[in-house]
Symmetry: D2
């Protein structure tokens, strides 16, 4: 079997989920390539070595430019902070590498456009880790929509609620906290959490044409760990959006890190003429499905435990009733990516797909400033 | 419209639910009789007068024998403590009155047998207030079973869990606490709570032939309010049963007042070859229904909100989505009873139906003593 | 006990809930007045007579002007269609009657302002039937907020989802369907459903200062039952809103009759610094409550079954664990109103309180047209 | 780091879960040994080779006796059918190997006693894969009990409900179906599913002293795949049990493969004087916890999402709100086992612990035959 040599940039939360996917995908899926963990790249050499030792990376780099230039690396996987995506991806594409990139693609659509241009002009395979597209329950929902079971769509609503930044004492920036530093992250919850909601929405329900939005920063100043000073907070703590889809349906979206009691509650619901469906990340192996075609007297929301052999991906795992976890979404995406690579095709979301999400987040942030409806650019 | 003069015995919890049914049934159902609240009977004259004034009873009696002899009373409704059911019901039947009786029918099957004999030899209409047969969701479940949708039945399980007697300080006996006095109540949770589970089970799933059981009294001594002394507790605090139904299915039953966190959690589930269903009293307007005939990929427990116009009784109430409460079950039973009376028929559960429940509870209590399987007598 | 003579206008859905409240409130609450159902007024004499006979109204009027002039009527209760609220309420106030009015107060804020002026200049007691303020679980939530348990509020979100108008075949207007006729109703879901969400929000979370909104009419033309012609639909089928509260929190609101699978799903959630809470109408006897002050390891959303004696209103009903229904909210409001009347005070929501909701709905409808944020007027 | 060479017997469902644990435990836990997948043993050489290739086993054996004799193997892990546990475990112990064994330990207590004797006389480390003891939520529950938070225990109830054998067409025996062949499995659901319920119960709530039980075989004859003939079915399809714990609490247990709609629904509940808790396998990352010490008005079942860093094992995985799956329980058990091995200690359940479960299942099967309460033997 052919090998595929991987160079990973970043050893944080996402570095771990990706590494786990590289390990486990071959154990559960038939793949045309054998992934080889060739190199791990991160600025802190000691931590990088420890991470590499744990996960079995053969070597360590501390400069991504060196990694990109290595001849023995086929894939550059970018799991570092948002401010690094643009330069690494473009350099990797120019070097002819396959590029996988964490979401959001760029800190803004301008960065993302340049990244799309780079991979497309280089003709390299590429994907963005919007992992929730690979939850079995969400894929089942996609199938039901594609089969026309929902009929004309009237409503799409999604929220991503967290509560981990409520404390005034939390610093902005520093190790593990770059998501609070607007210069690194690009935005707050809009790019971090709402982007997930939007990516899934675009996939399930088509394009969003116009939005109006409000954002808020509840805690205006925080100490910055890197500078040691109390500084204005630049990110949005919360973001709420009204939107219109090109299929005529109405969208409502919200993300926040100030919803006390919710840890990572990504929920979505779609209402169609003939059927409706709901999903939430806290019970990710279920969808709620209401089929108006059921006999009236016994009509109700079906609580579908998506763990059977005829459910997406589930024939690769255990037996009915036994659930999988969050990290499996990355395993699925990596397996799909390799299988597509083996046949010369690619999977969604590509860089170009992810650019569209950045267009929507740009329009949202613009509307939050202008107070007006903003039209969403299309690529 | 003909009037039907009612004499109620008892002004406790059940006296209130019955009185409310007498008031509200004519407002929501088309009835062949207009119920008239003729007399309220209870030993404490002052309280009886207050209750009668509140609910509109025209007169008060303090001796049920006087009530039974009144010519202007058509119906004797027994809502007093269990130890009074036998004598009042028999006297009422002998006086030619229609008899409605709270559950359980007798403190034991012997009492109940004599009550059945009395009403049947007098030829008077009679019913026992096993009110959960009139929950719209439970009636829907009965319809589904009768239509054969569940197929061959394998399992029936029911529980009634409460937690209100856990405190050692609670006295046995006295105002509102007669359920803790075995001489008055006949038994503990077996006759009080488990009897509900058994009545519904017999109705939905047919006869129970054999049982084995255990009971327990967790707090062995309590102060008795009437005597002022600490005395052994005679009731069962908890009761658990294995049983076999004549249709070949297995039954498990449990009742307790020591299940911390549960207030009045009566739950039941029935598993058939083709479908299963669940109901619980804490969300009484719903059933969970699983139909194996649904397409595999989208099969799941349907959460049916039994509030539509084509659901049992619900055309009499509000609009879809709006729930009714506990007390409506009594309104339904009273309306059904009057409608049957108008056509010279009767409704279940009759005294004879309720006797069968007493046969099962007798067998359960016998098994708890003998440690053996006991055969259930049939009438 | 003093009597209070009631004249009801309208015999529809709301006429029934009000009549039931008049009947049942005295049975369960200690009231300073005995309500007397003096007269029922509706244009269709036959139906009015049948309704009056069923509910015990002593007389019937077919012209509300005649009802208002009757000397033997103390209270005018308006349960007729929205287009009648304004004229009846003003005439009743001028005649010195106590006025109770179904929601929304006016078809728009201008009507409502005139109604407020009328009752205030006449000095008559008045209230608007925003009944969800009297759900025990919602009142408990209000208590928790007022006690400061939630701390600084970050988010408030509410939705009211239905699905009963999806069919193209449904006519606009005609018996029982006036809610689809914009001339009668004033607006669609904004005034009908969203108004409930807004009323509760204003009560729980204070004033809303600014909104931006979108509305949609999914089915553009329907046959009108009164004219027999296919006509443009004037109401909004769906309405979605972003808003800002004066306490700094963000609000999101949505109402629709096109959410397949939802019958009357009014849900609300409030997120504070220290605690959060959720409620929904389909399980109206529960709130979900998350208290961040709980020990971390065992912190979770508490599913509170609001049926105990120390919960609002529940000491008047049954025993813990036994639920009440939708109609009880009207009983509670009527009982509260009479009790306040007995002490010369009044209850919220008054006409003036309800006017504020009309200011918000006016701003929402204006924003849906202008595409801009609109400032909410205050009275 | 020291290596630990593993020889696995069996490549079925459990062979996969164990192999996955060997792979992933070192990636997420700090372990004193590096597990080496030395050999895979199974009778079918082709399939064994394929399995070994997929999972990285260095070699293949087709006779477990050969595996046991290999000098380069430190651990024998038994994941083959129940009828093989006894002989392999005893031979492995005699050869001085560490022994890990799938549950149930023996097909009956006699086999299990001999296995315990073997490992104890050989002095080799040993454990049985009752994996549900390593669900983070179940471990949290254990902690709460051990801290005395529940107080005196009144009730313990557990069920394991499946529906996969309802079809008459399912053969008994043959590839993947040995659980239906009584000679191989030892019993039906009692040893397969109920054993899980019992193991957890003994761990959480102490010893069970007496039981009464019923079992049933709903489909009496099935075609046997190995013989090709229709033969009587020897296993129990369903099993229901009443039991008494030595702490005075009452136990109810049930297992079945005939509960339509339930895939692998293992549920347990424990009711104490001060608190109660529930868990179920279909939502394995949650417990429901009711603390009577909470203030009355806001008391409710807490839905605890056991995904935080201060929850058992969860500091090794992702971030709060993100769930893990079924297979993680095996990873946890293997990590615990290796860590204990590093310090010369062992973990529960040992063979001796698992023997006690076999004593209970033996008593249950005896009672189902005798119709009497049976005393449970203790080791």
């Amino acid at each position: 079997m052919k090998t595929l040599n991987i160079g990973l940039v970043g050893y944080g939360f996402m570095g771990r989920t990706h590494s786990n996917a590289f390990h486990d995908a071959p154990l559960f899926f038939d793949l045309p390539y054998r992934p080889v963990l060739k190199a791990l790249c991160a600025r802190n050499a000691d931590r990088a070595k420890a991470f590499a030792a744990n996960w079995g990376y053969e070597s360590v780099e501390t400069d991504w430019r060196a990694l990109v230039e290595r001849k023995d690396v086929d894939v550059i996987d970018i799991a570092s902070s948002n401010d690094t995506h643009h330069d690494i991806a473009i350099a990797a594409a120019k070097a002819g590498k396959i590029v996988m990139c964490e979401k959001p693609l760029g800190r803004n659509a301008k960065e993302a456009e340049e990244m799309v241009a780079a991979v497309e002009s280089a003709g390299v395979a590429n994907t963005v880790w919007y992992n929730y597209r690979r939850v079995p329950a969400v894929v089942l929902l996609k199938q039901l929509i594609d089969e026309g079971r929902l009929g004309r769509i009237f409503h799409y609503r999604a929220k991503f609620l967290q509560d981990w930044t409520i404390s005034q004492d939390l610093p902005q920036g520093g190790e593990g906290l770059w998501r609070l530093d607007v210069n690194i992250a690009g935005s707050g919850v809009t790019g971090d959490l709402l982007a997930h909601c939007l990516d899934t929405a675009l996939w399930l329900n088509g394009s969003i044409t116009d939005v109006t939005a409000m954002t808020e920063t509840f805690i205006k100043e925080r100490k910055h760990n890197l500078t040691g000073k109390v500084e204005p907070v630049g990110i949005d703590d919360a973001s709420a959006v009204l939107g219109r889809f090109s299929n005529g349906s109405l969208g409502t979206f919200e993300a926040t890190r100030y919803a006390r009691g919710h840890k990572a509650l990504y929920t979505l619901e779609i209402n169609g003429e003939r059927a409706s469906a709901m999903w939430d990340l806290h019970d990710l192996h279920r969808i709620q499905y209401f089929d108006h075609g059921d006999e009236g007297r016994v009509r109700g929301w079906r609580n579908i435990h998506v763990t059977d052999g005829d459910h997406p991906y589930m024939d690769r795992w255990w037996v009915p009733g036994l659930q999988i976890g969050y990290e499996h979404t990355f395993i699925h995406q990596f397996a799909d990516f390799l299988q597509a690579l083996g046949t010369g095709t690619t999977i969604s979301p590509t860089f170009r797909d992810a650019l569209q999400t950045d267009y929507v987040t740009d329009a949202i942030l613009a509307s939050a400033k202008s107070g007006r409806w903003e039209h969403v650019k299309t690529s």
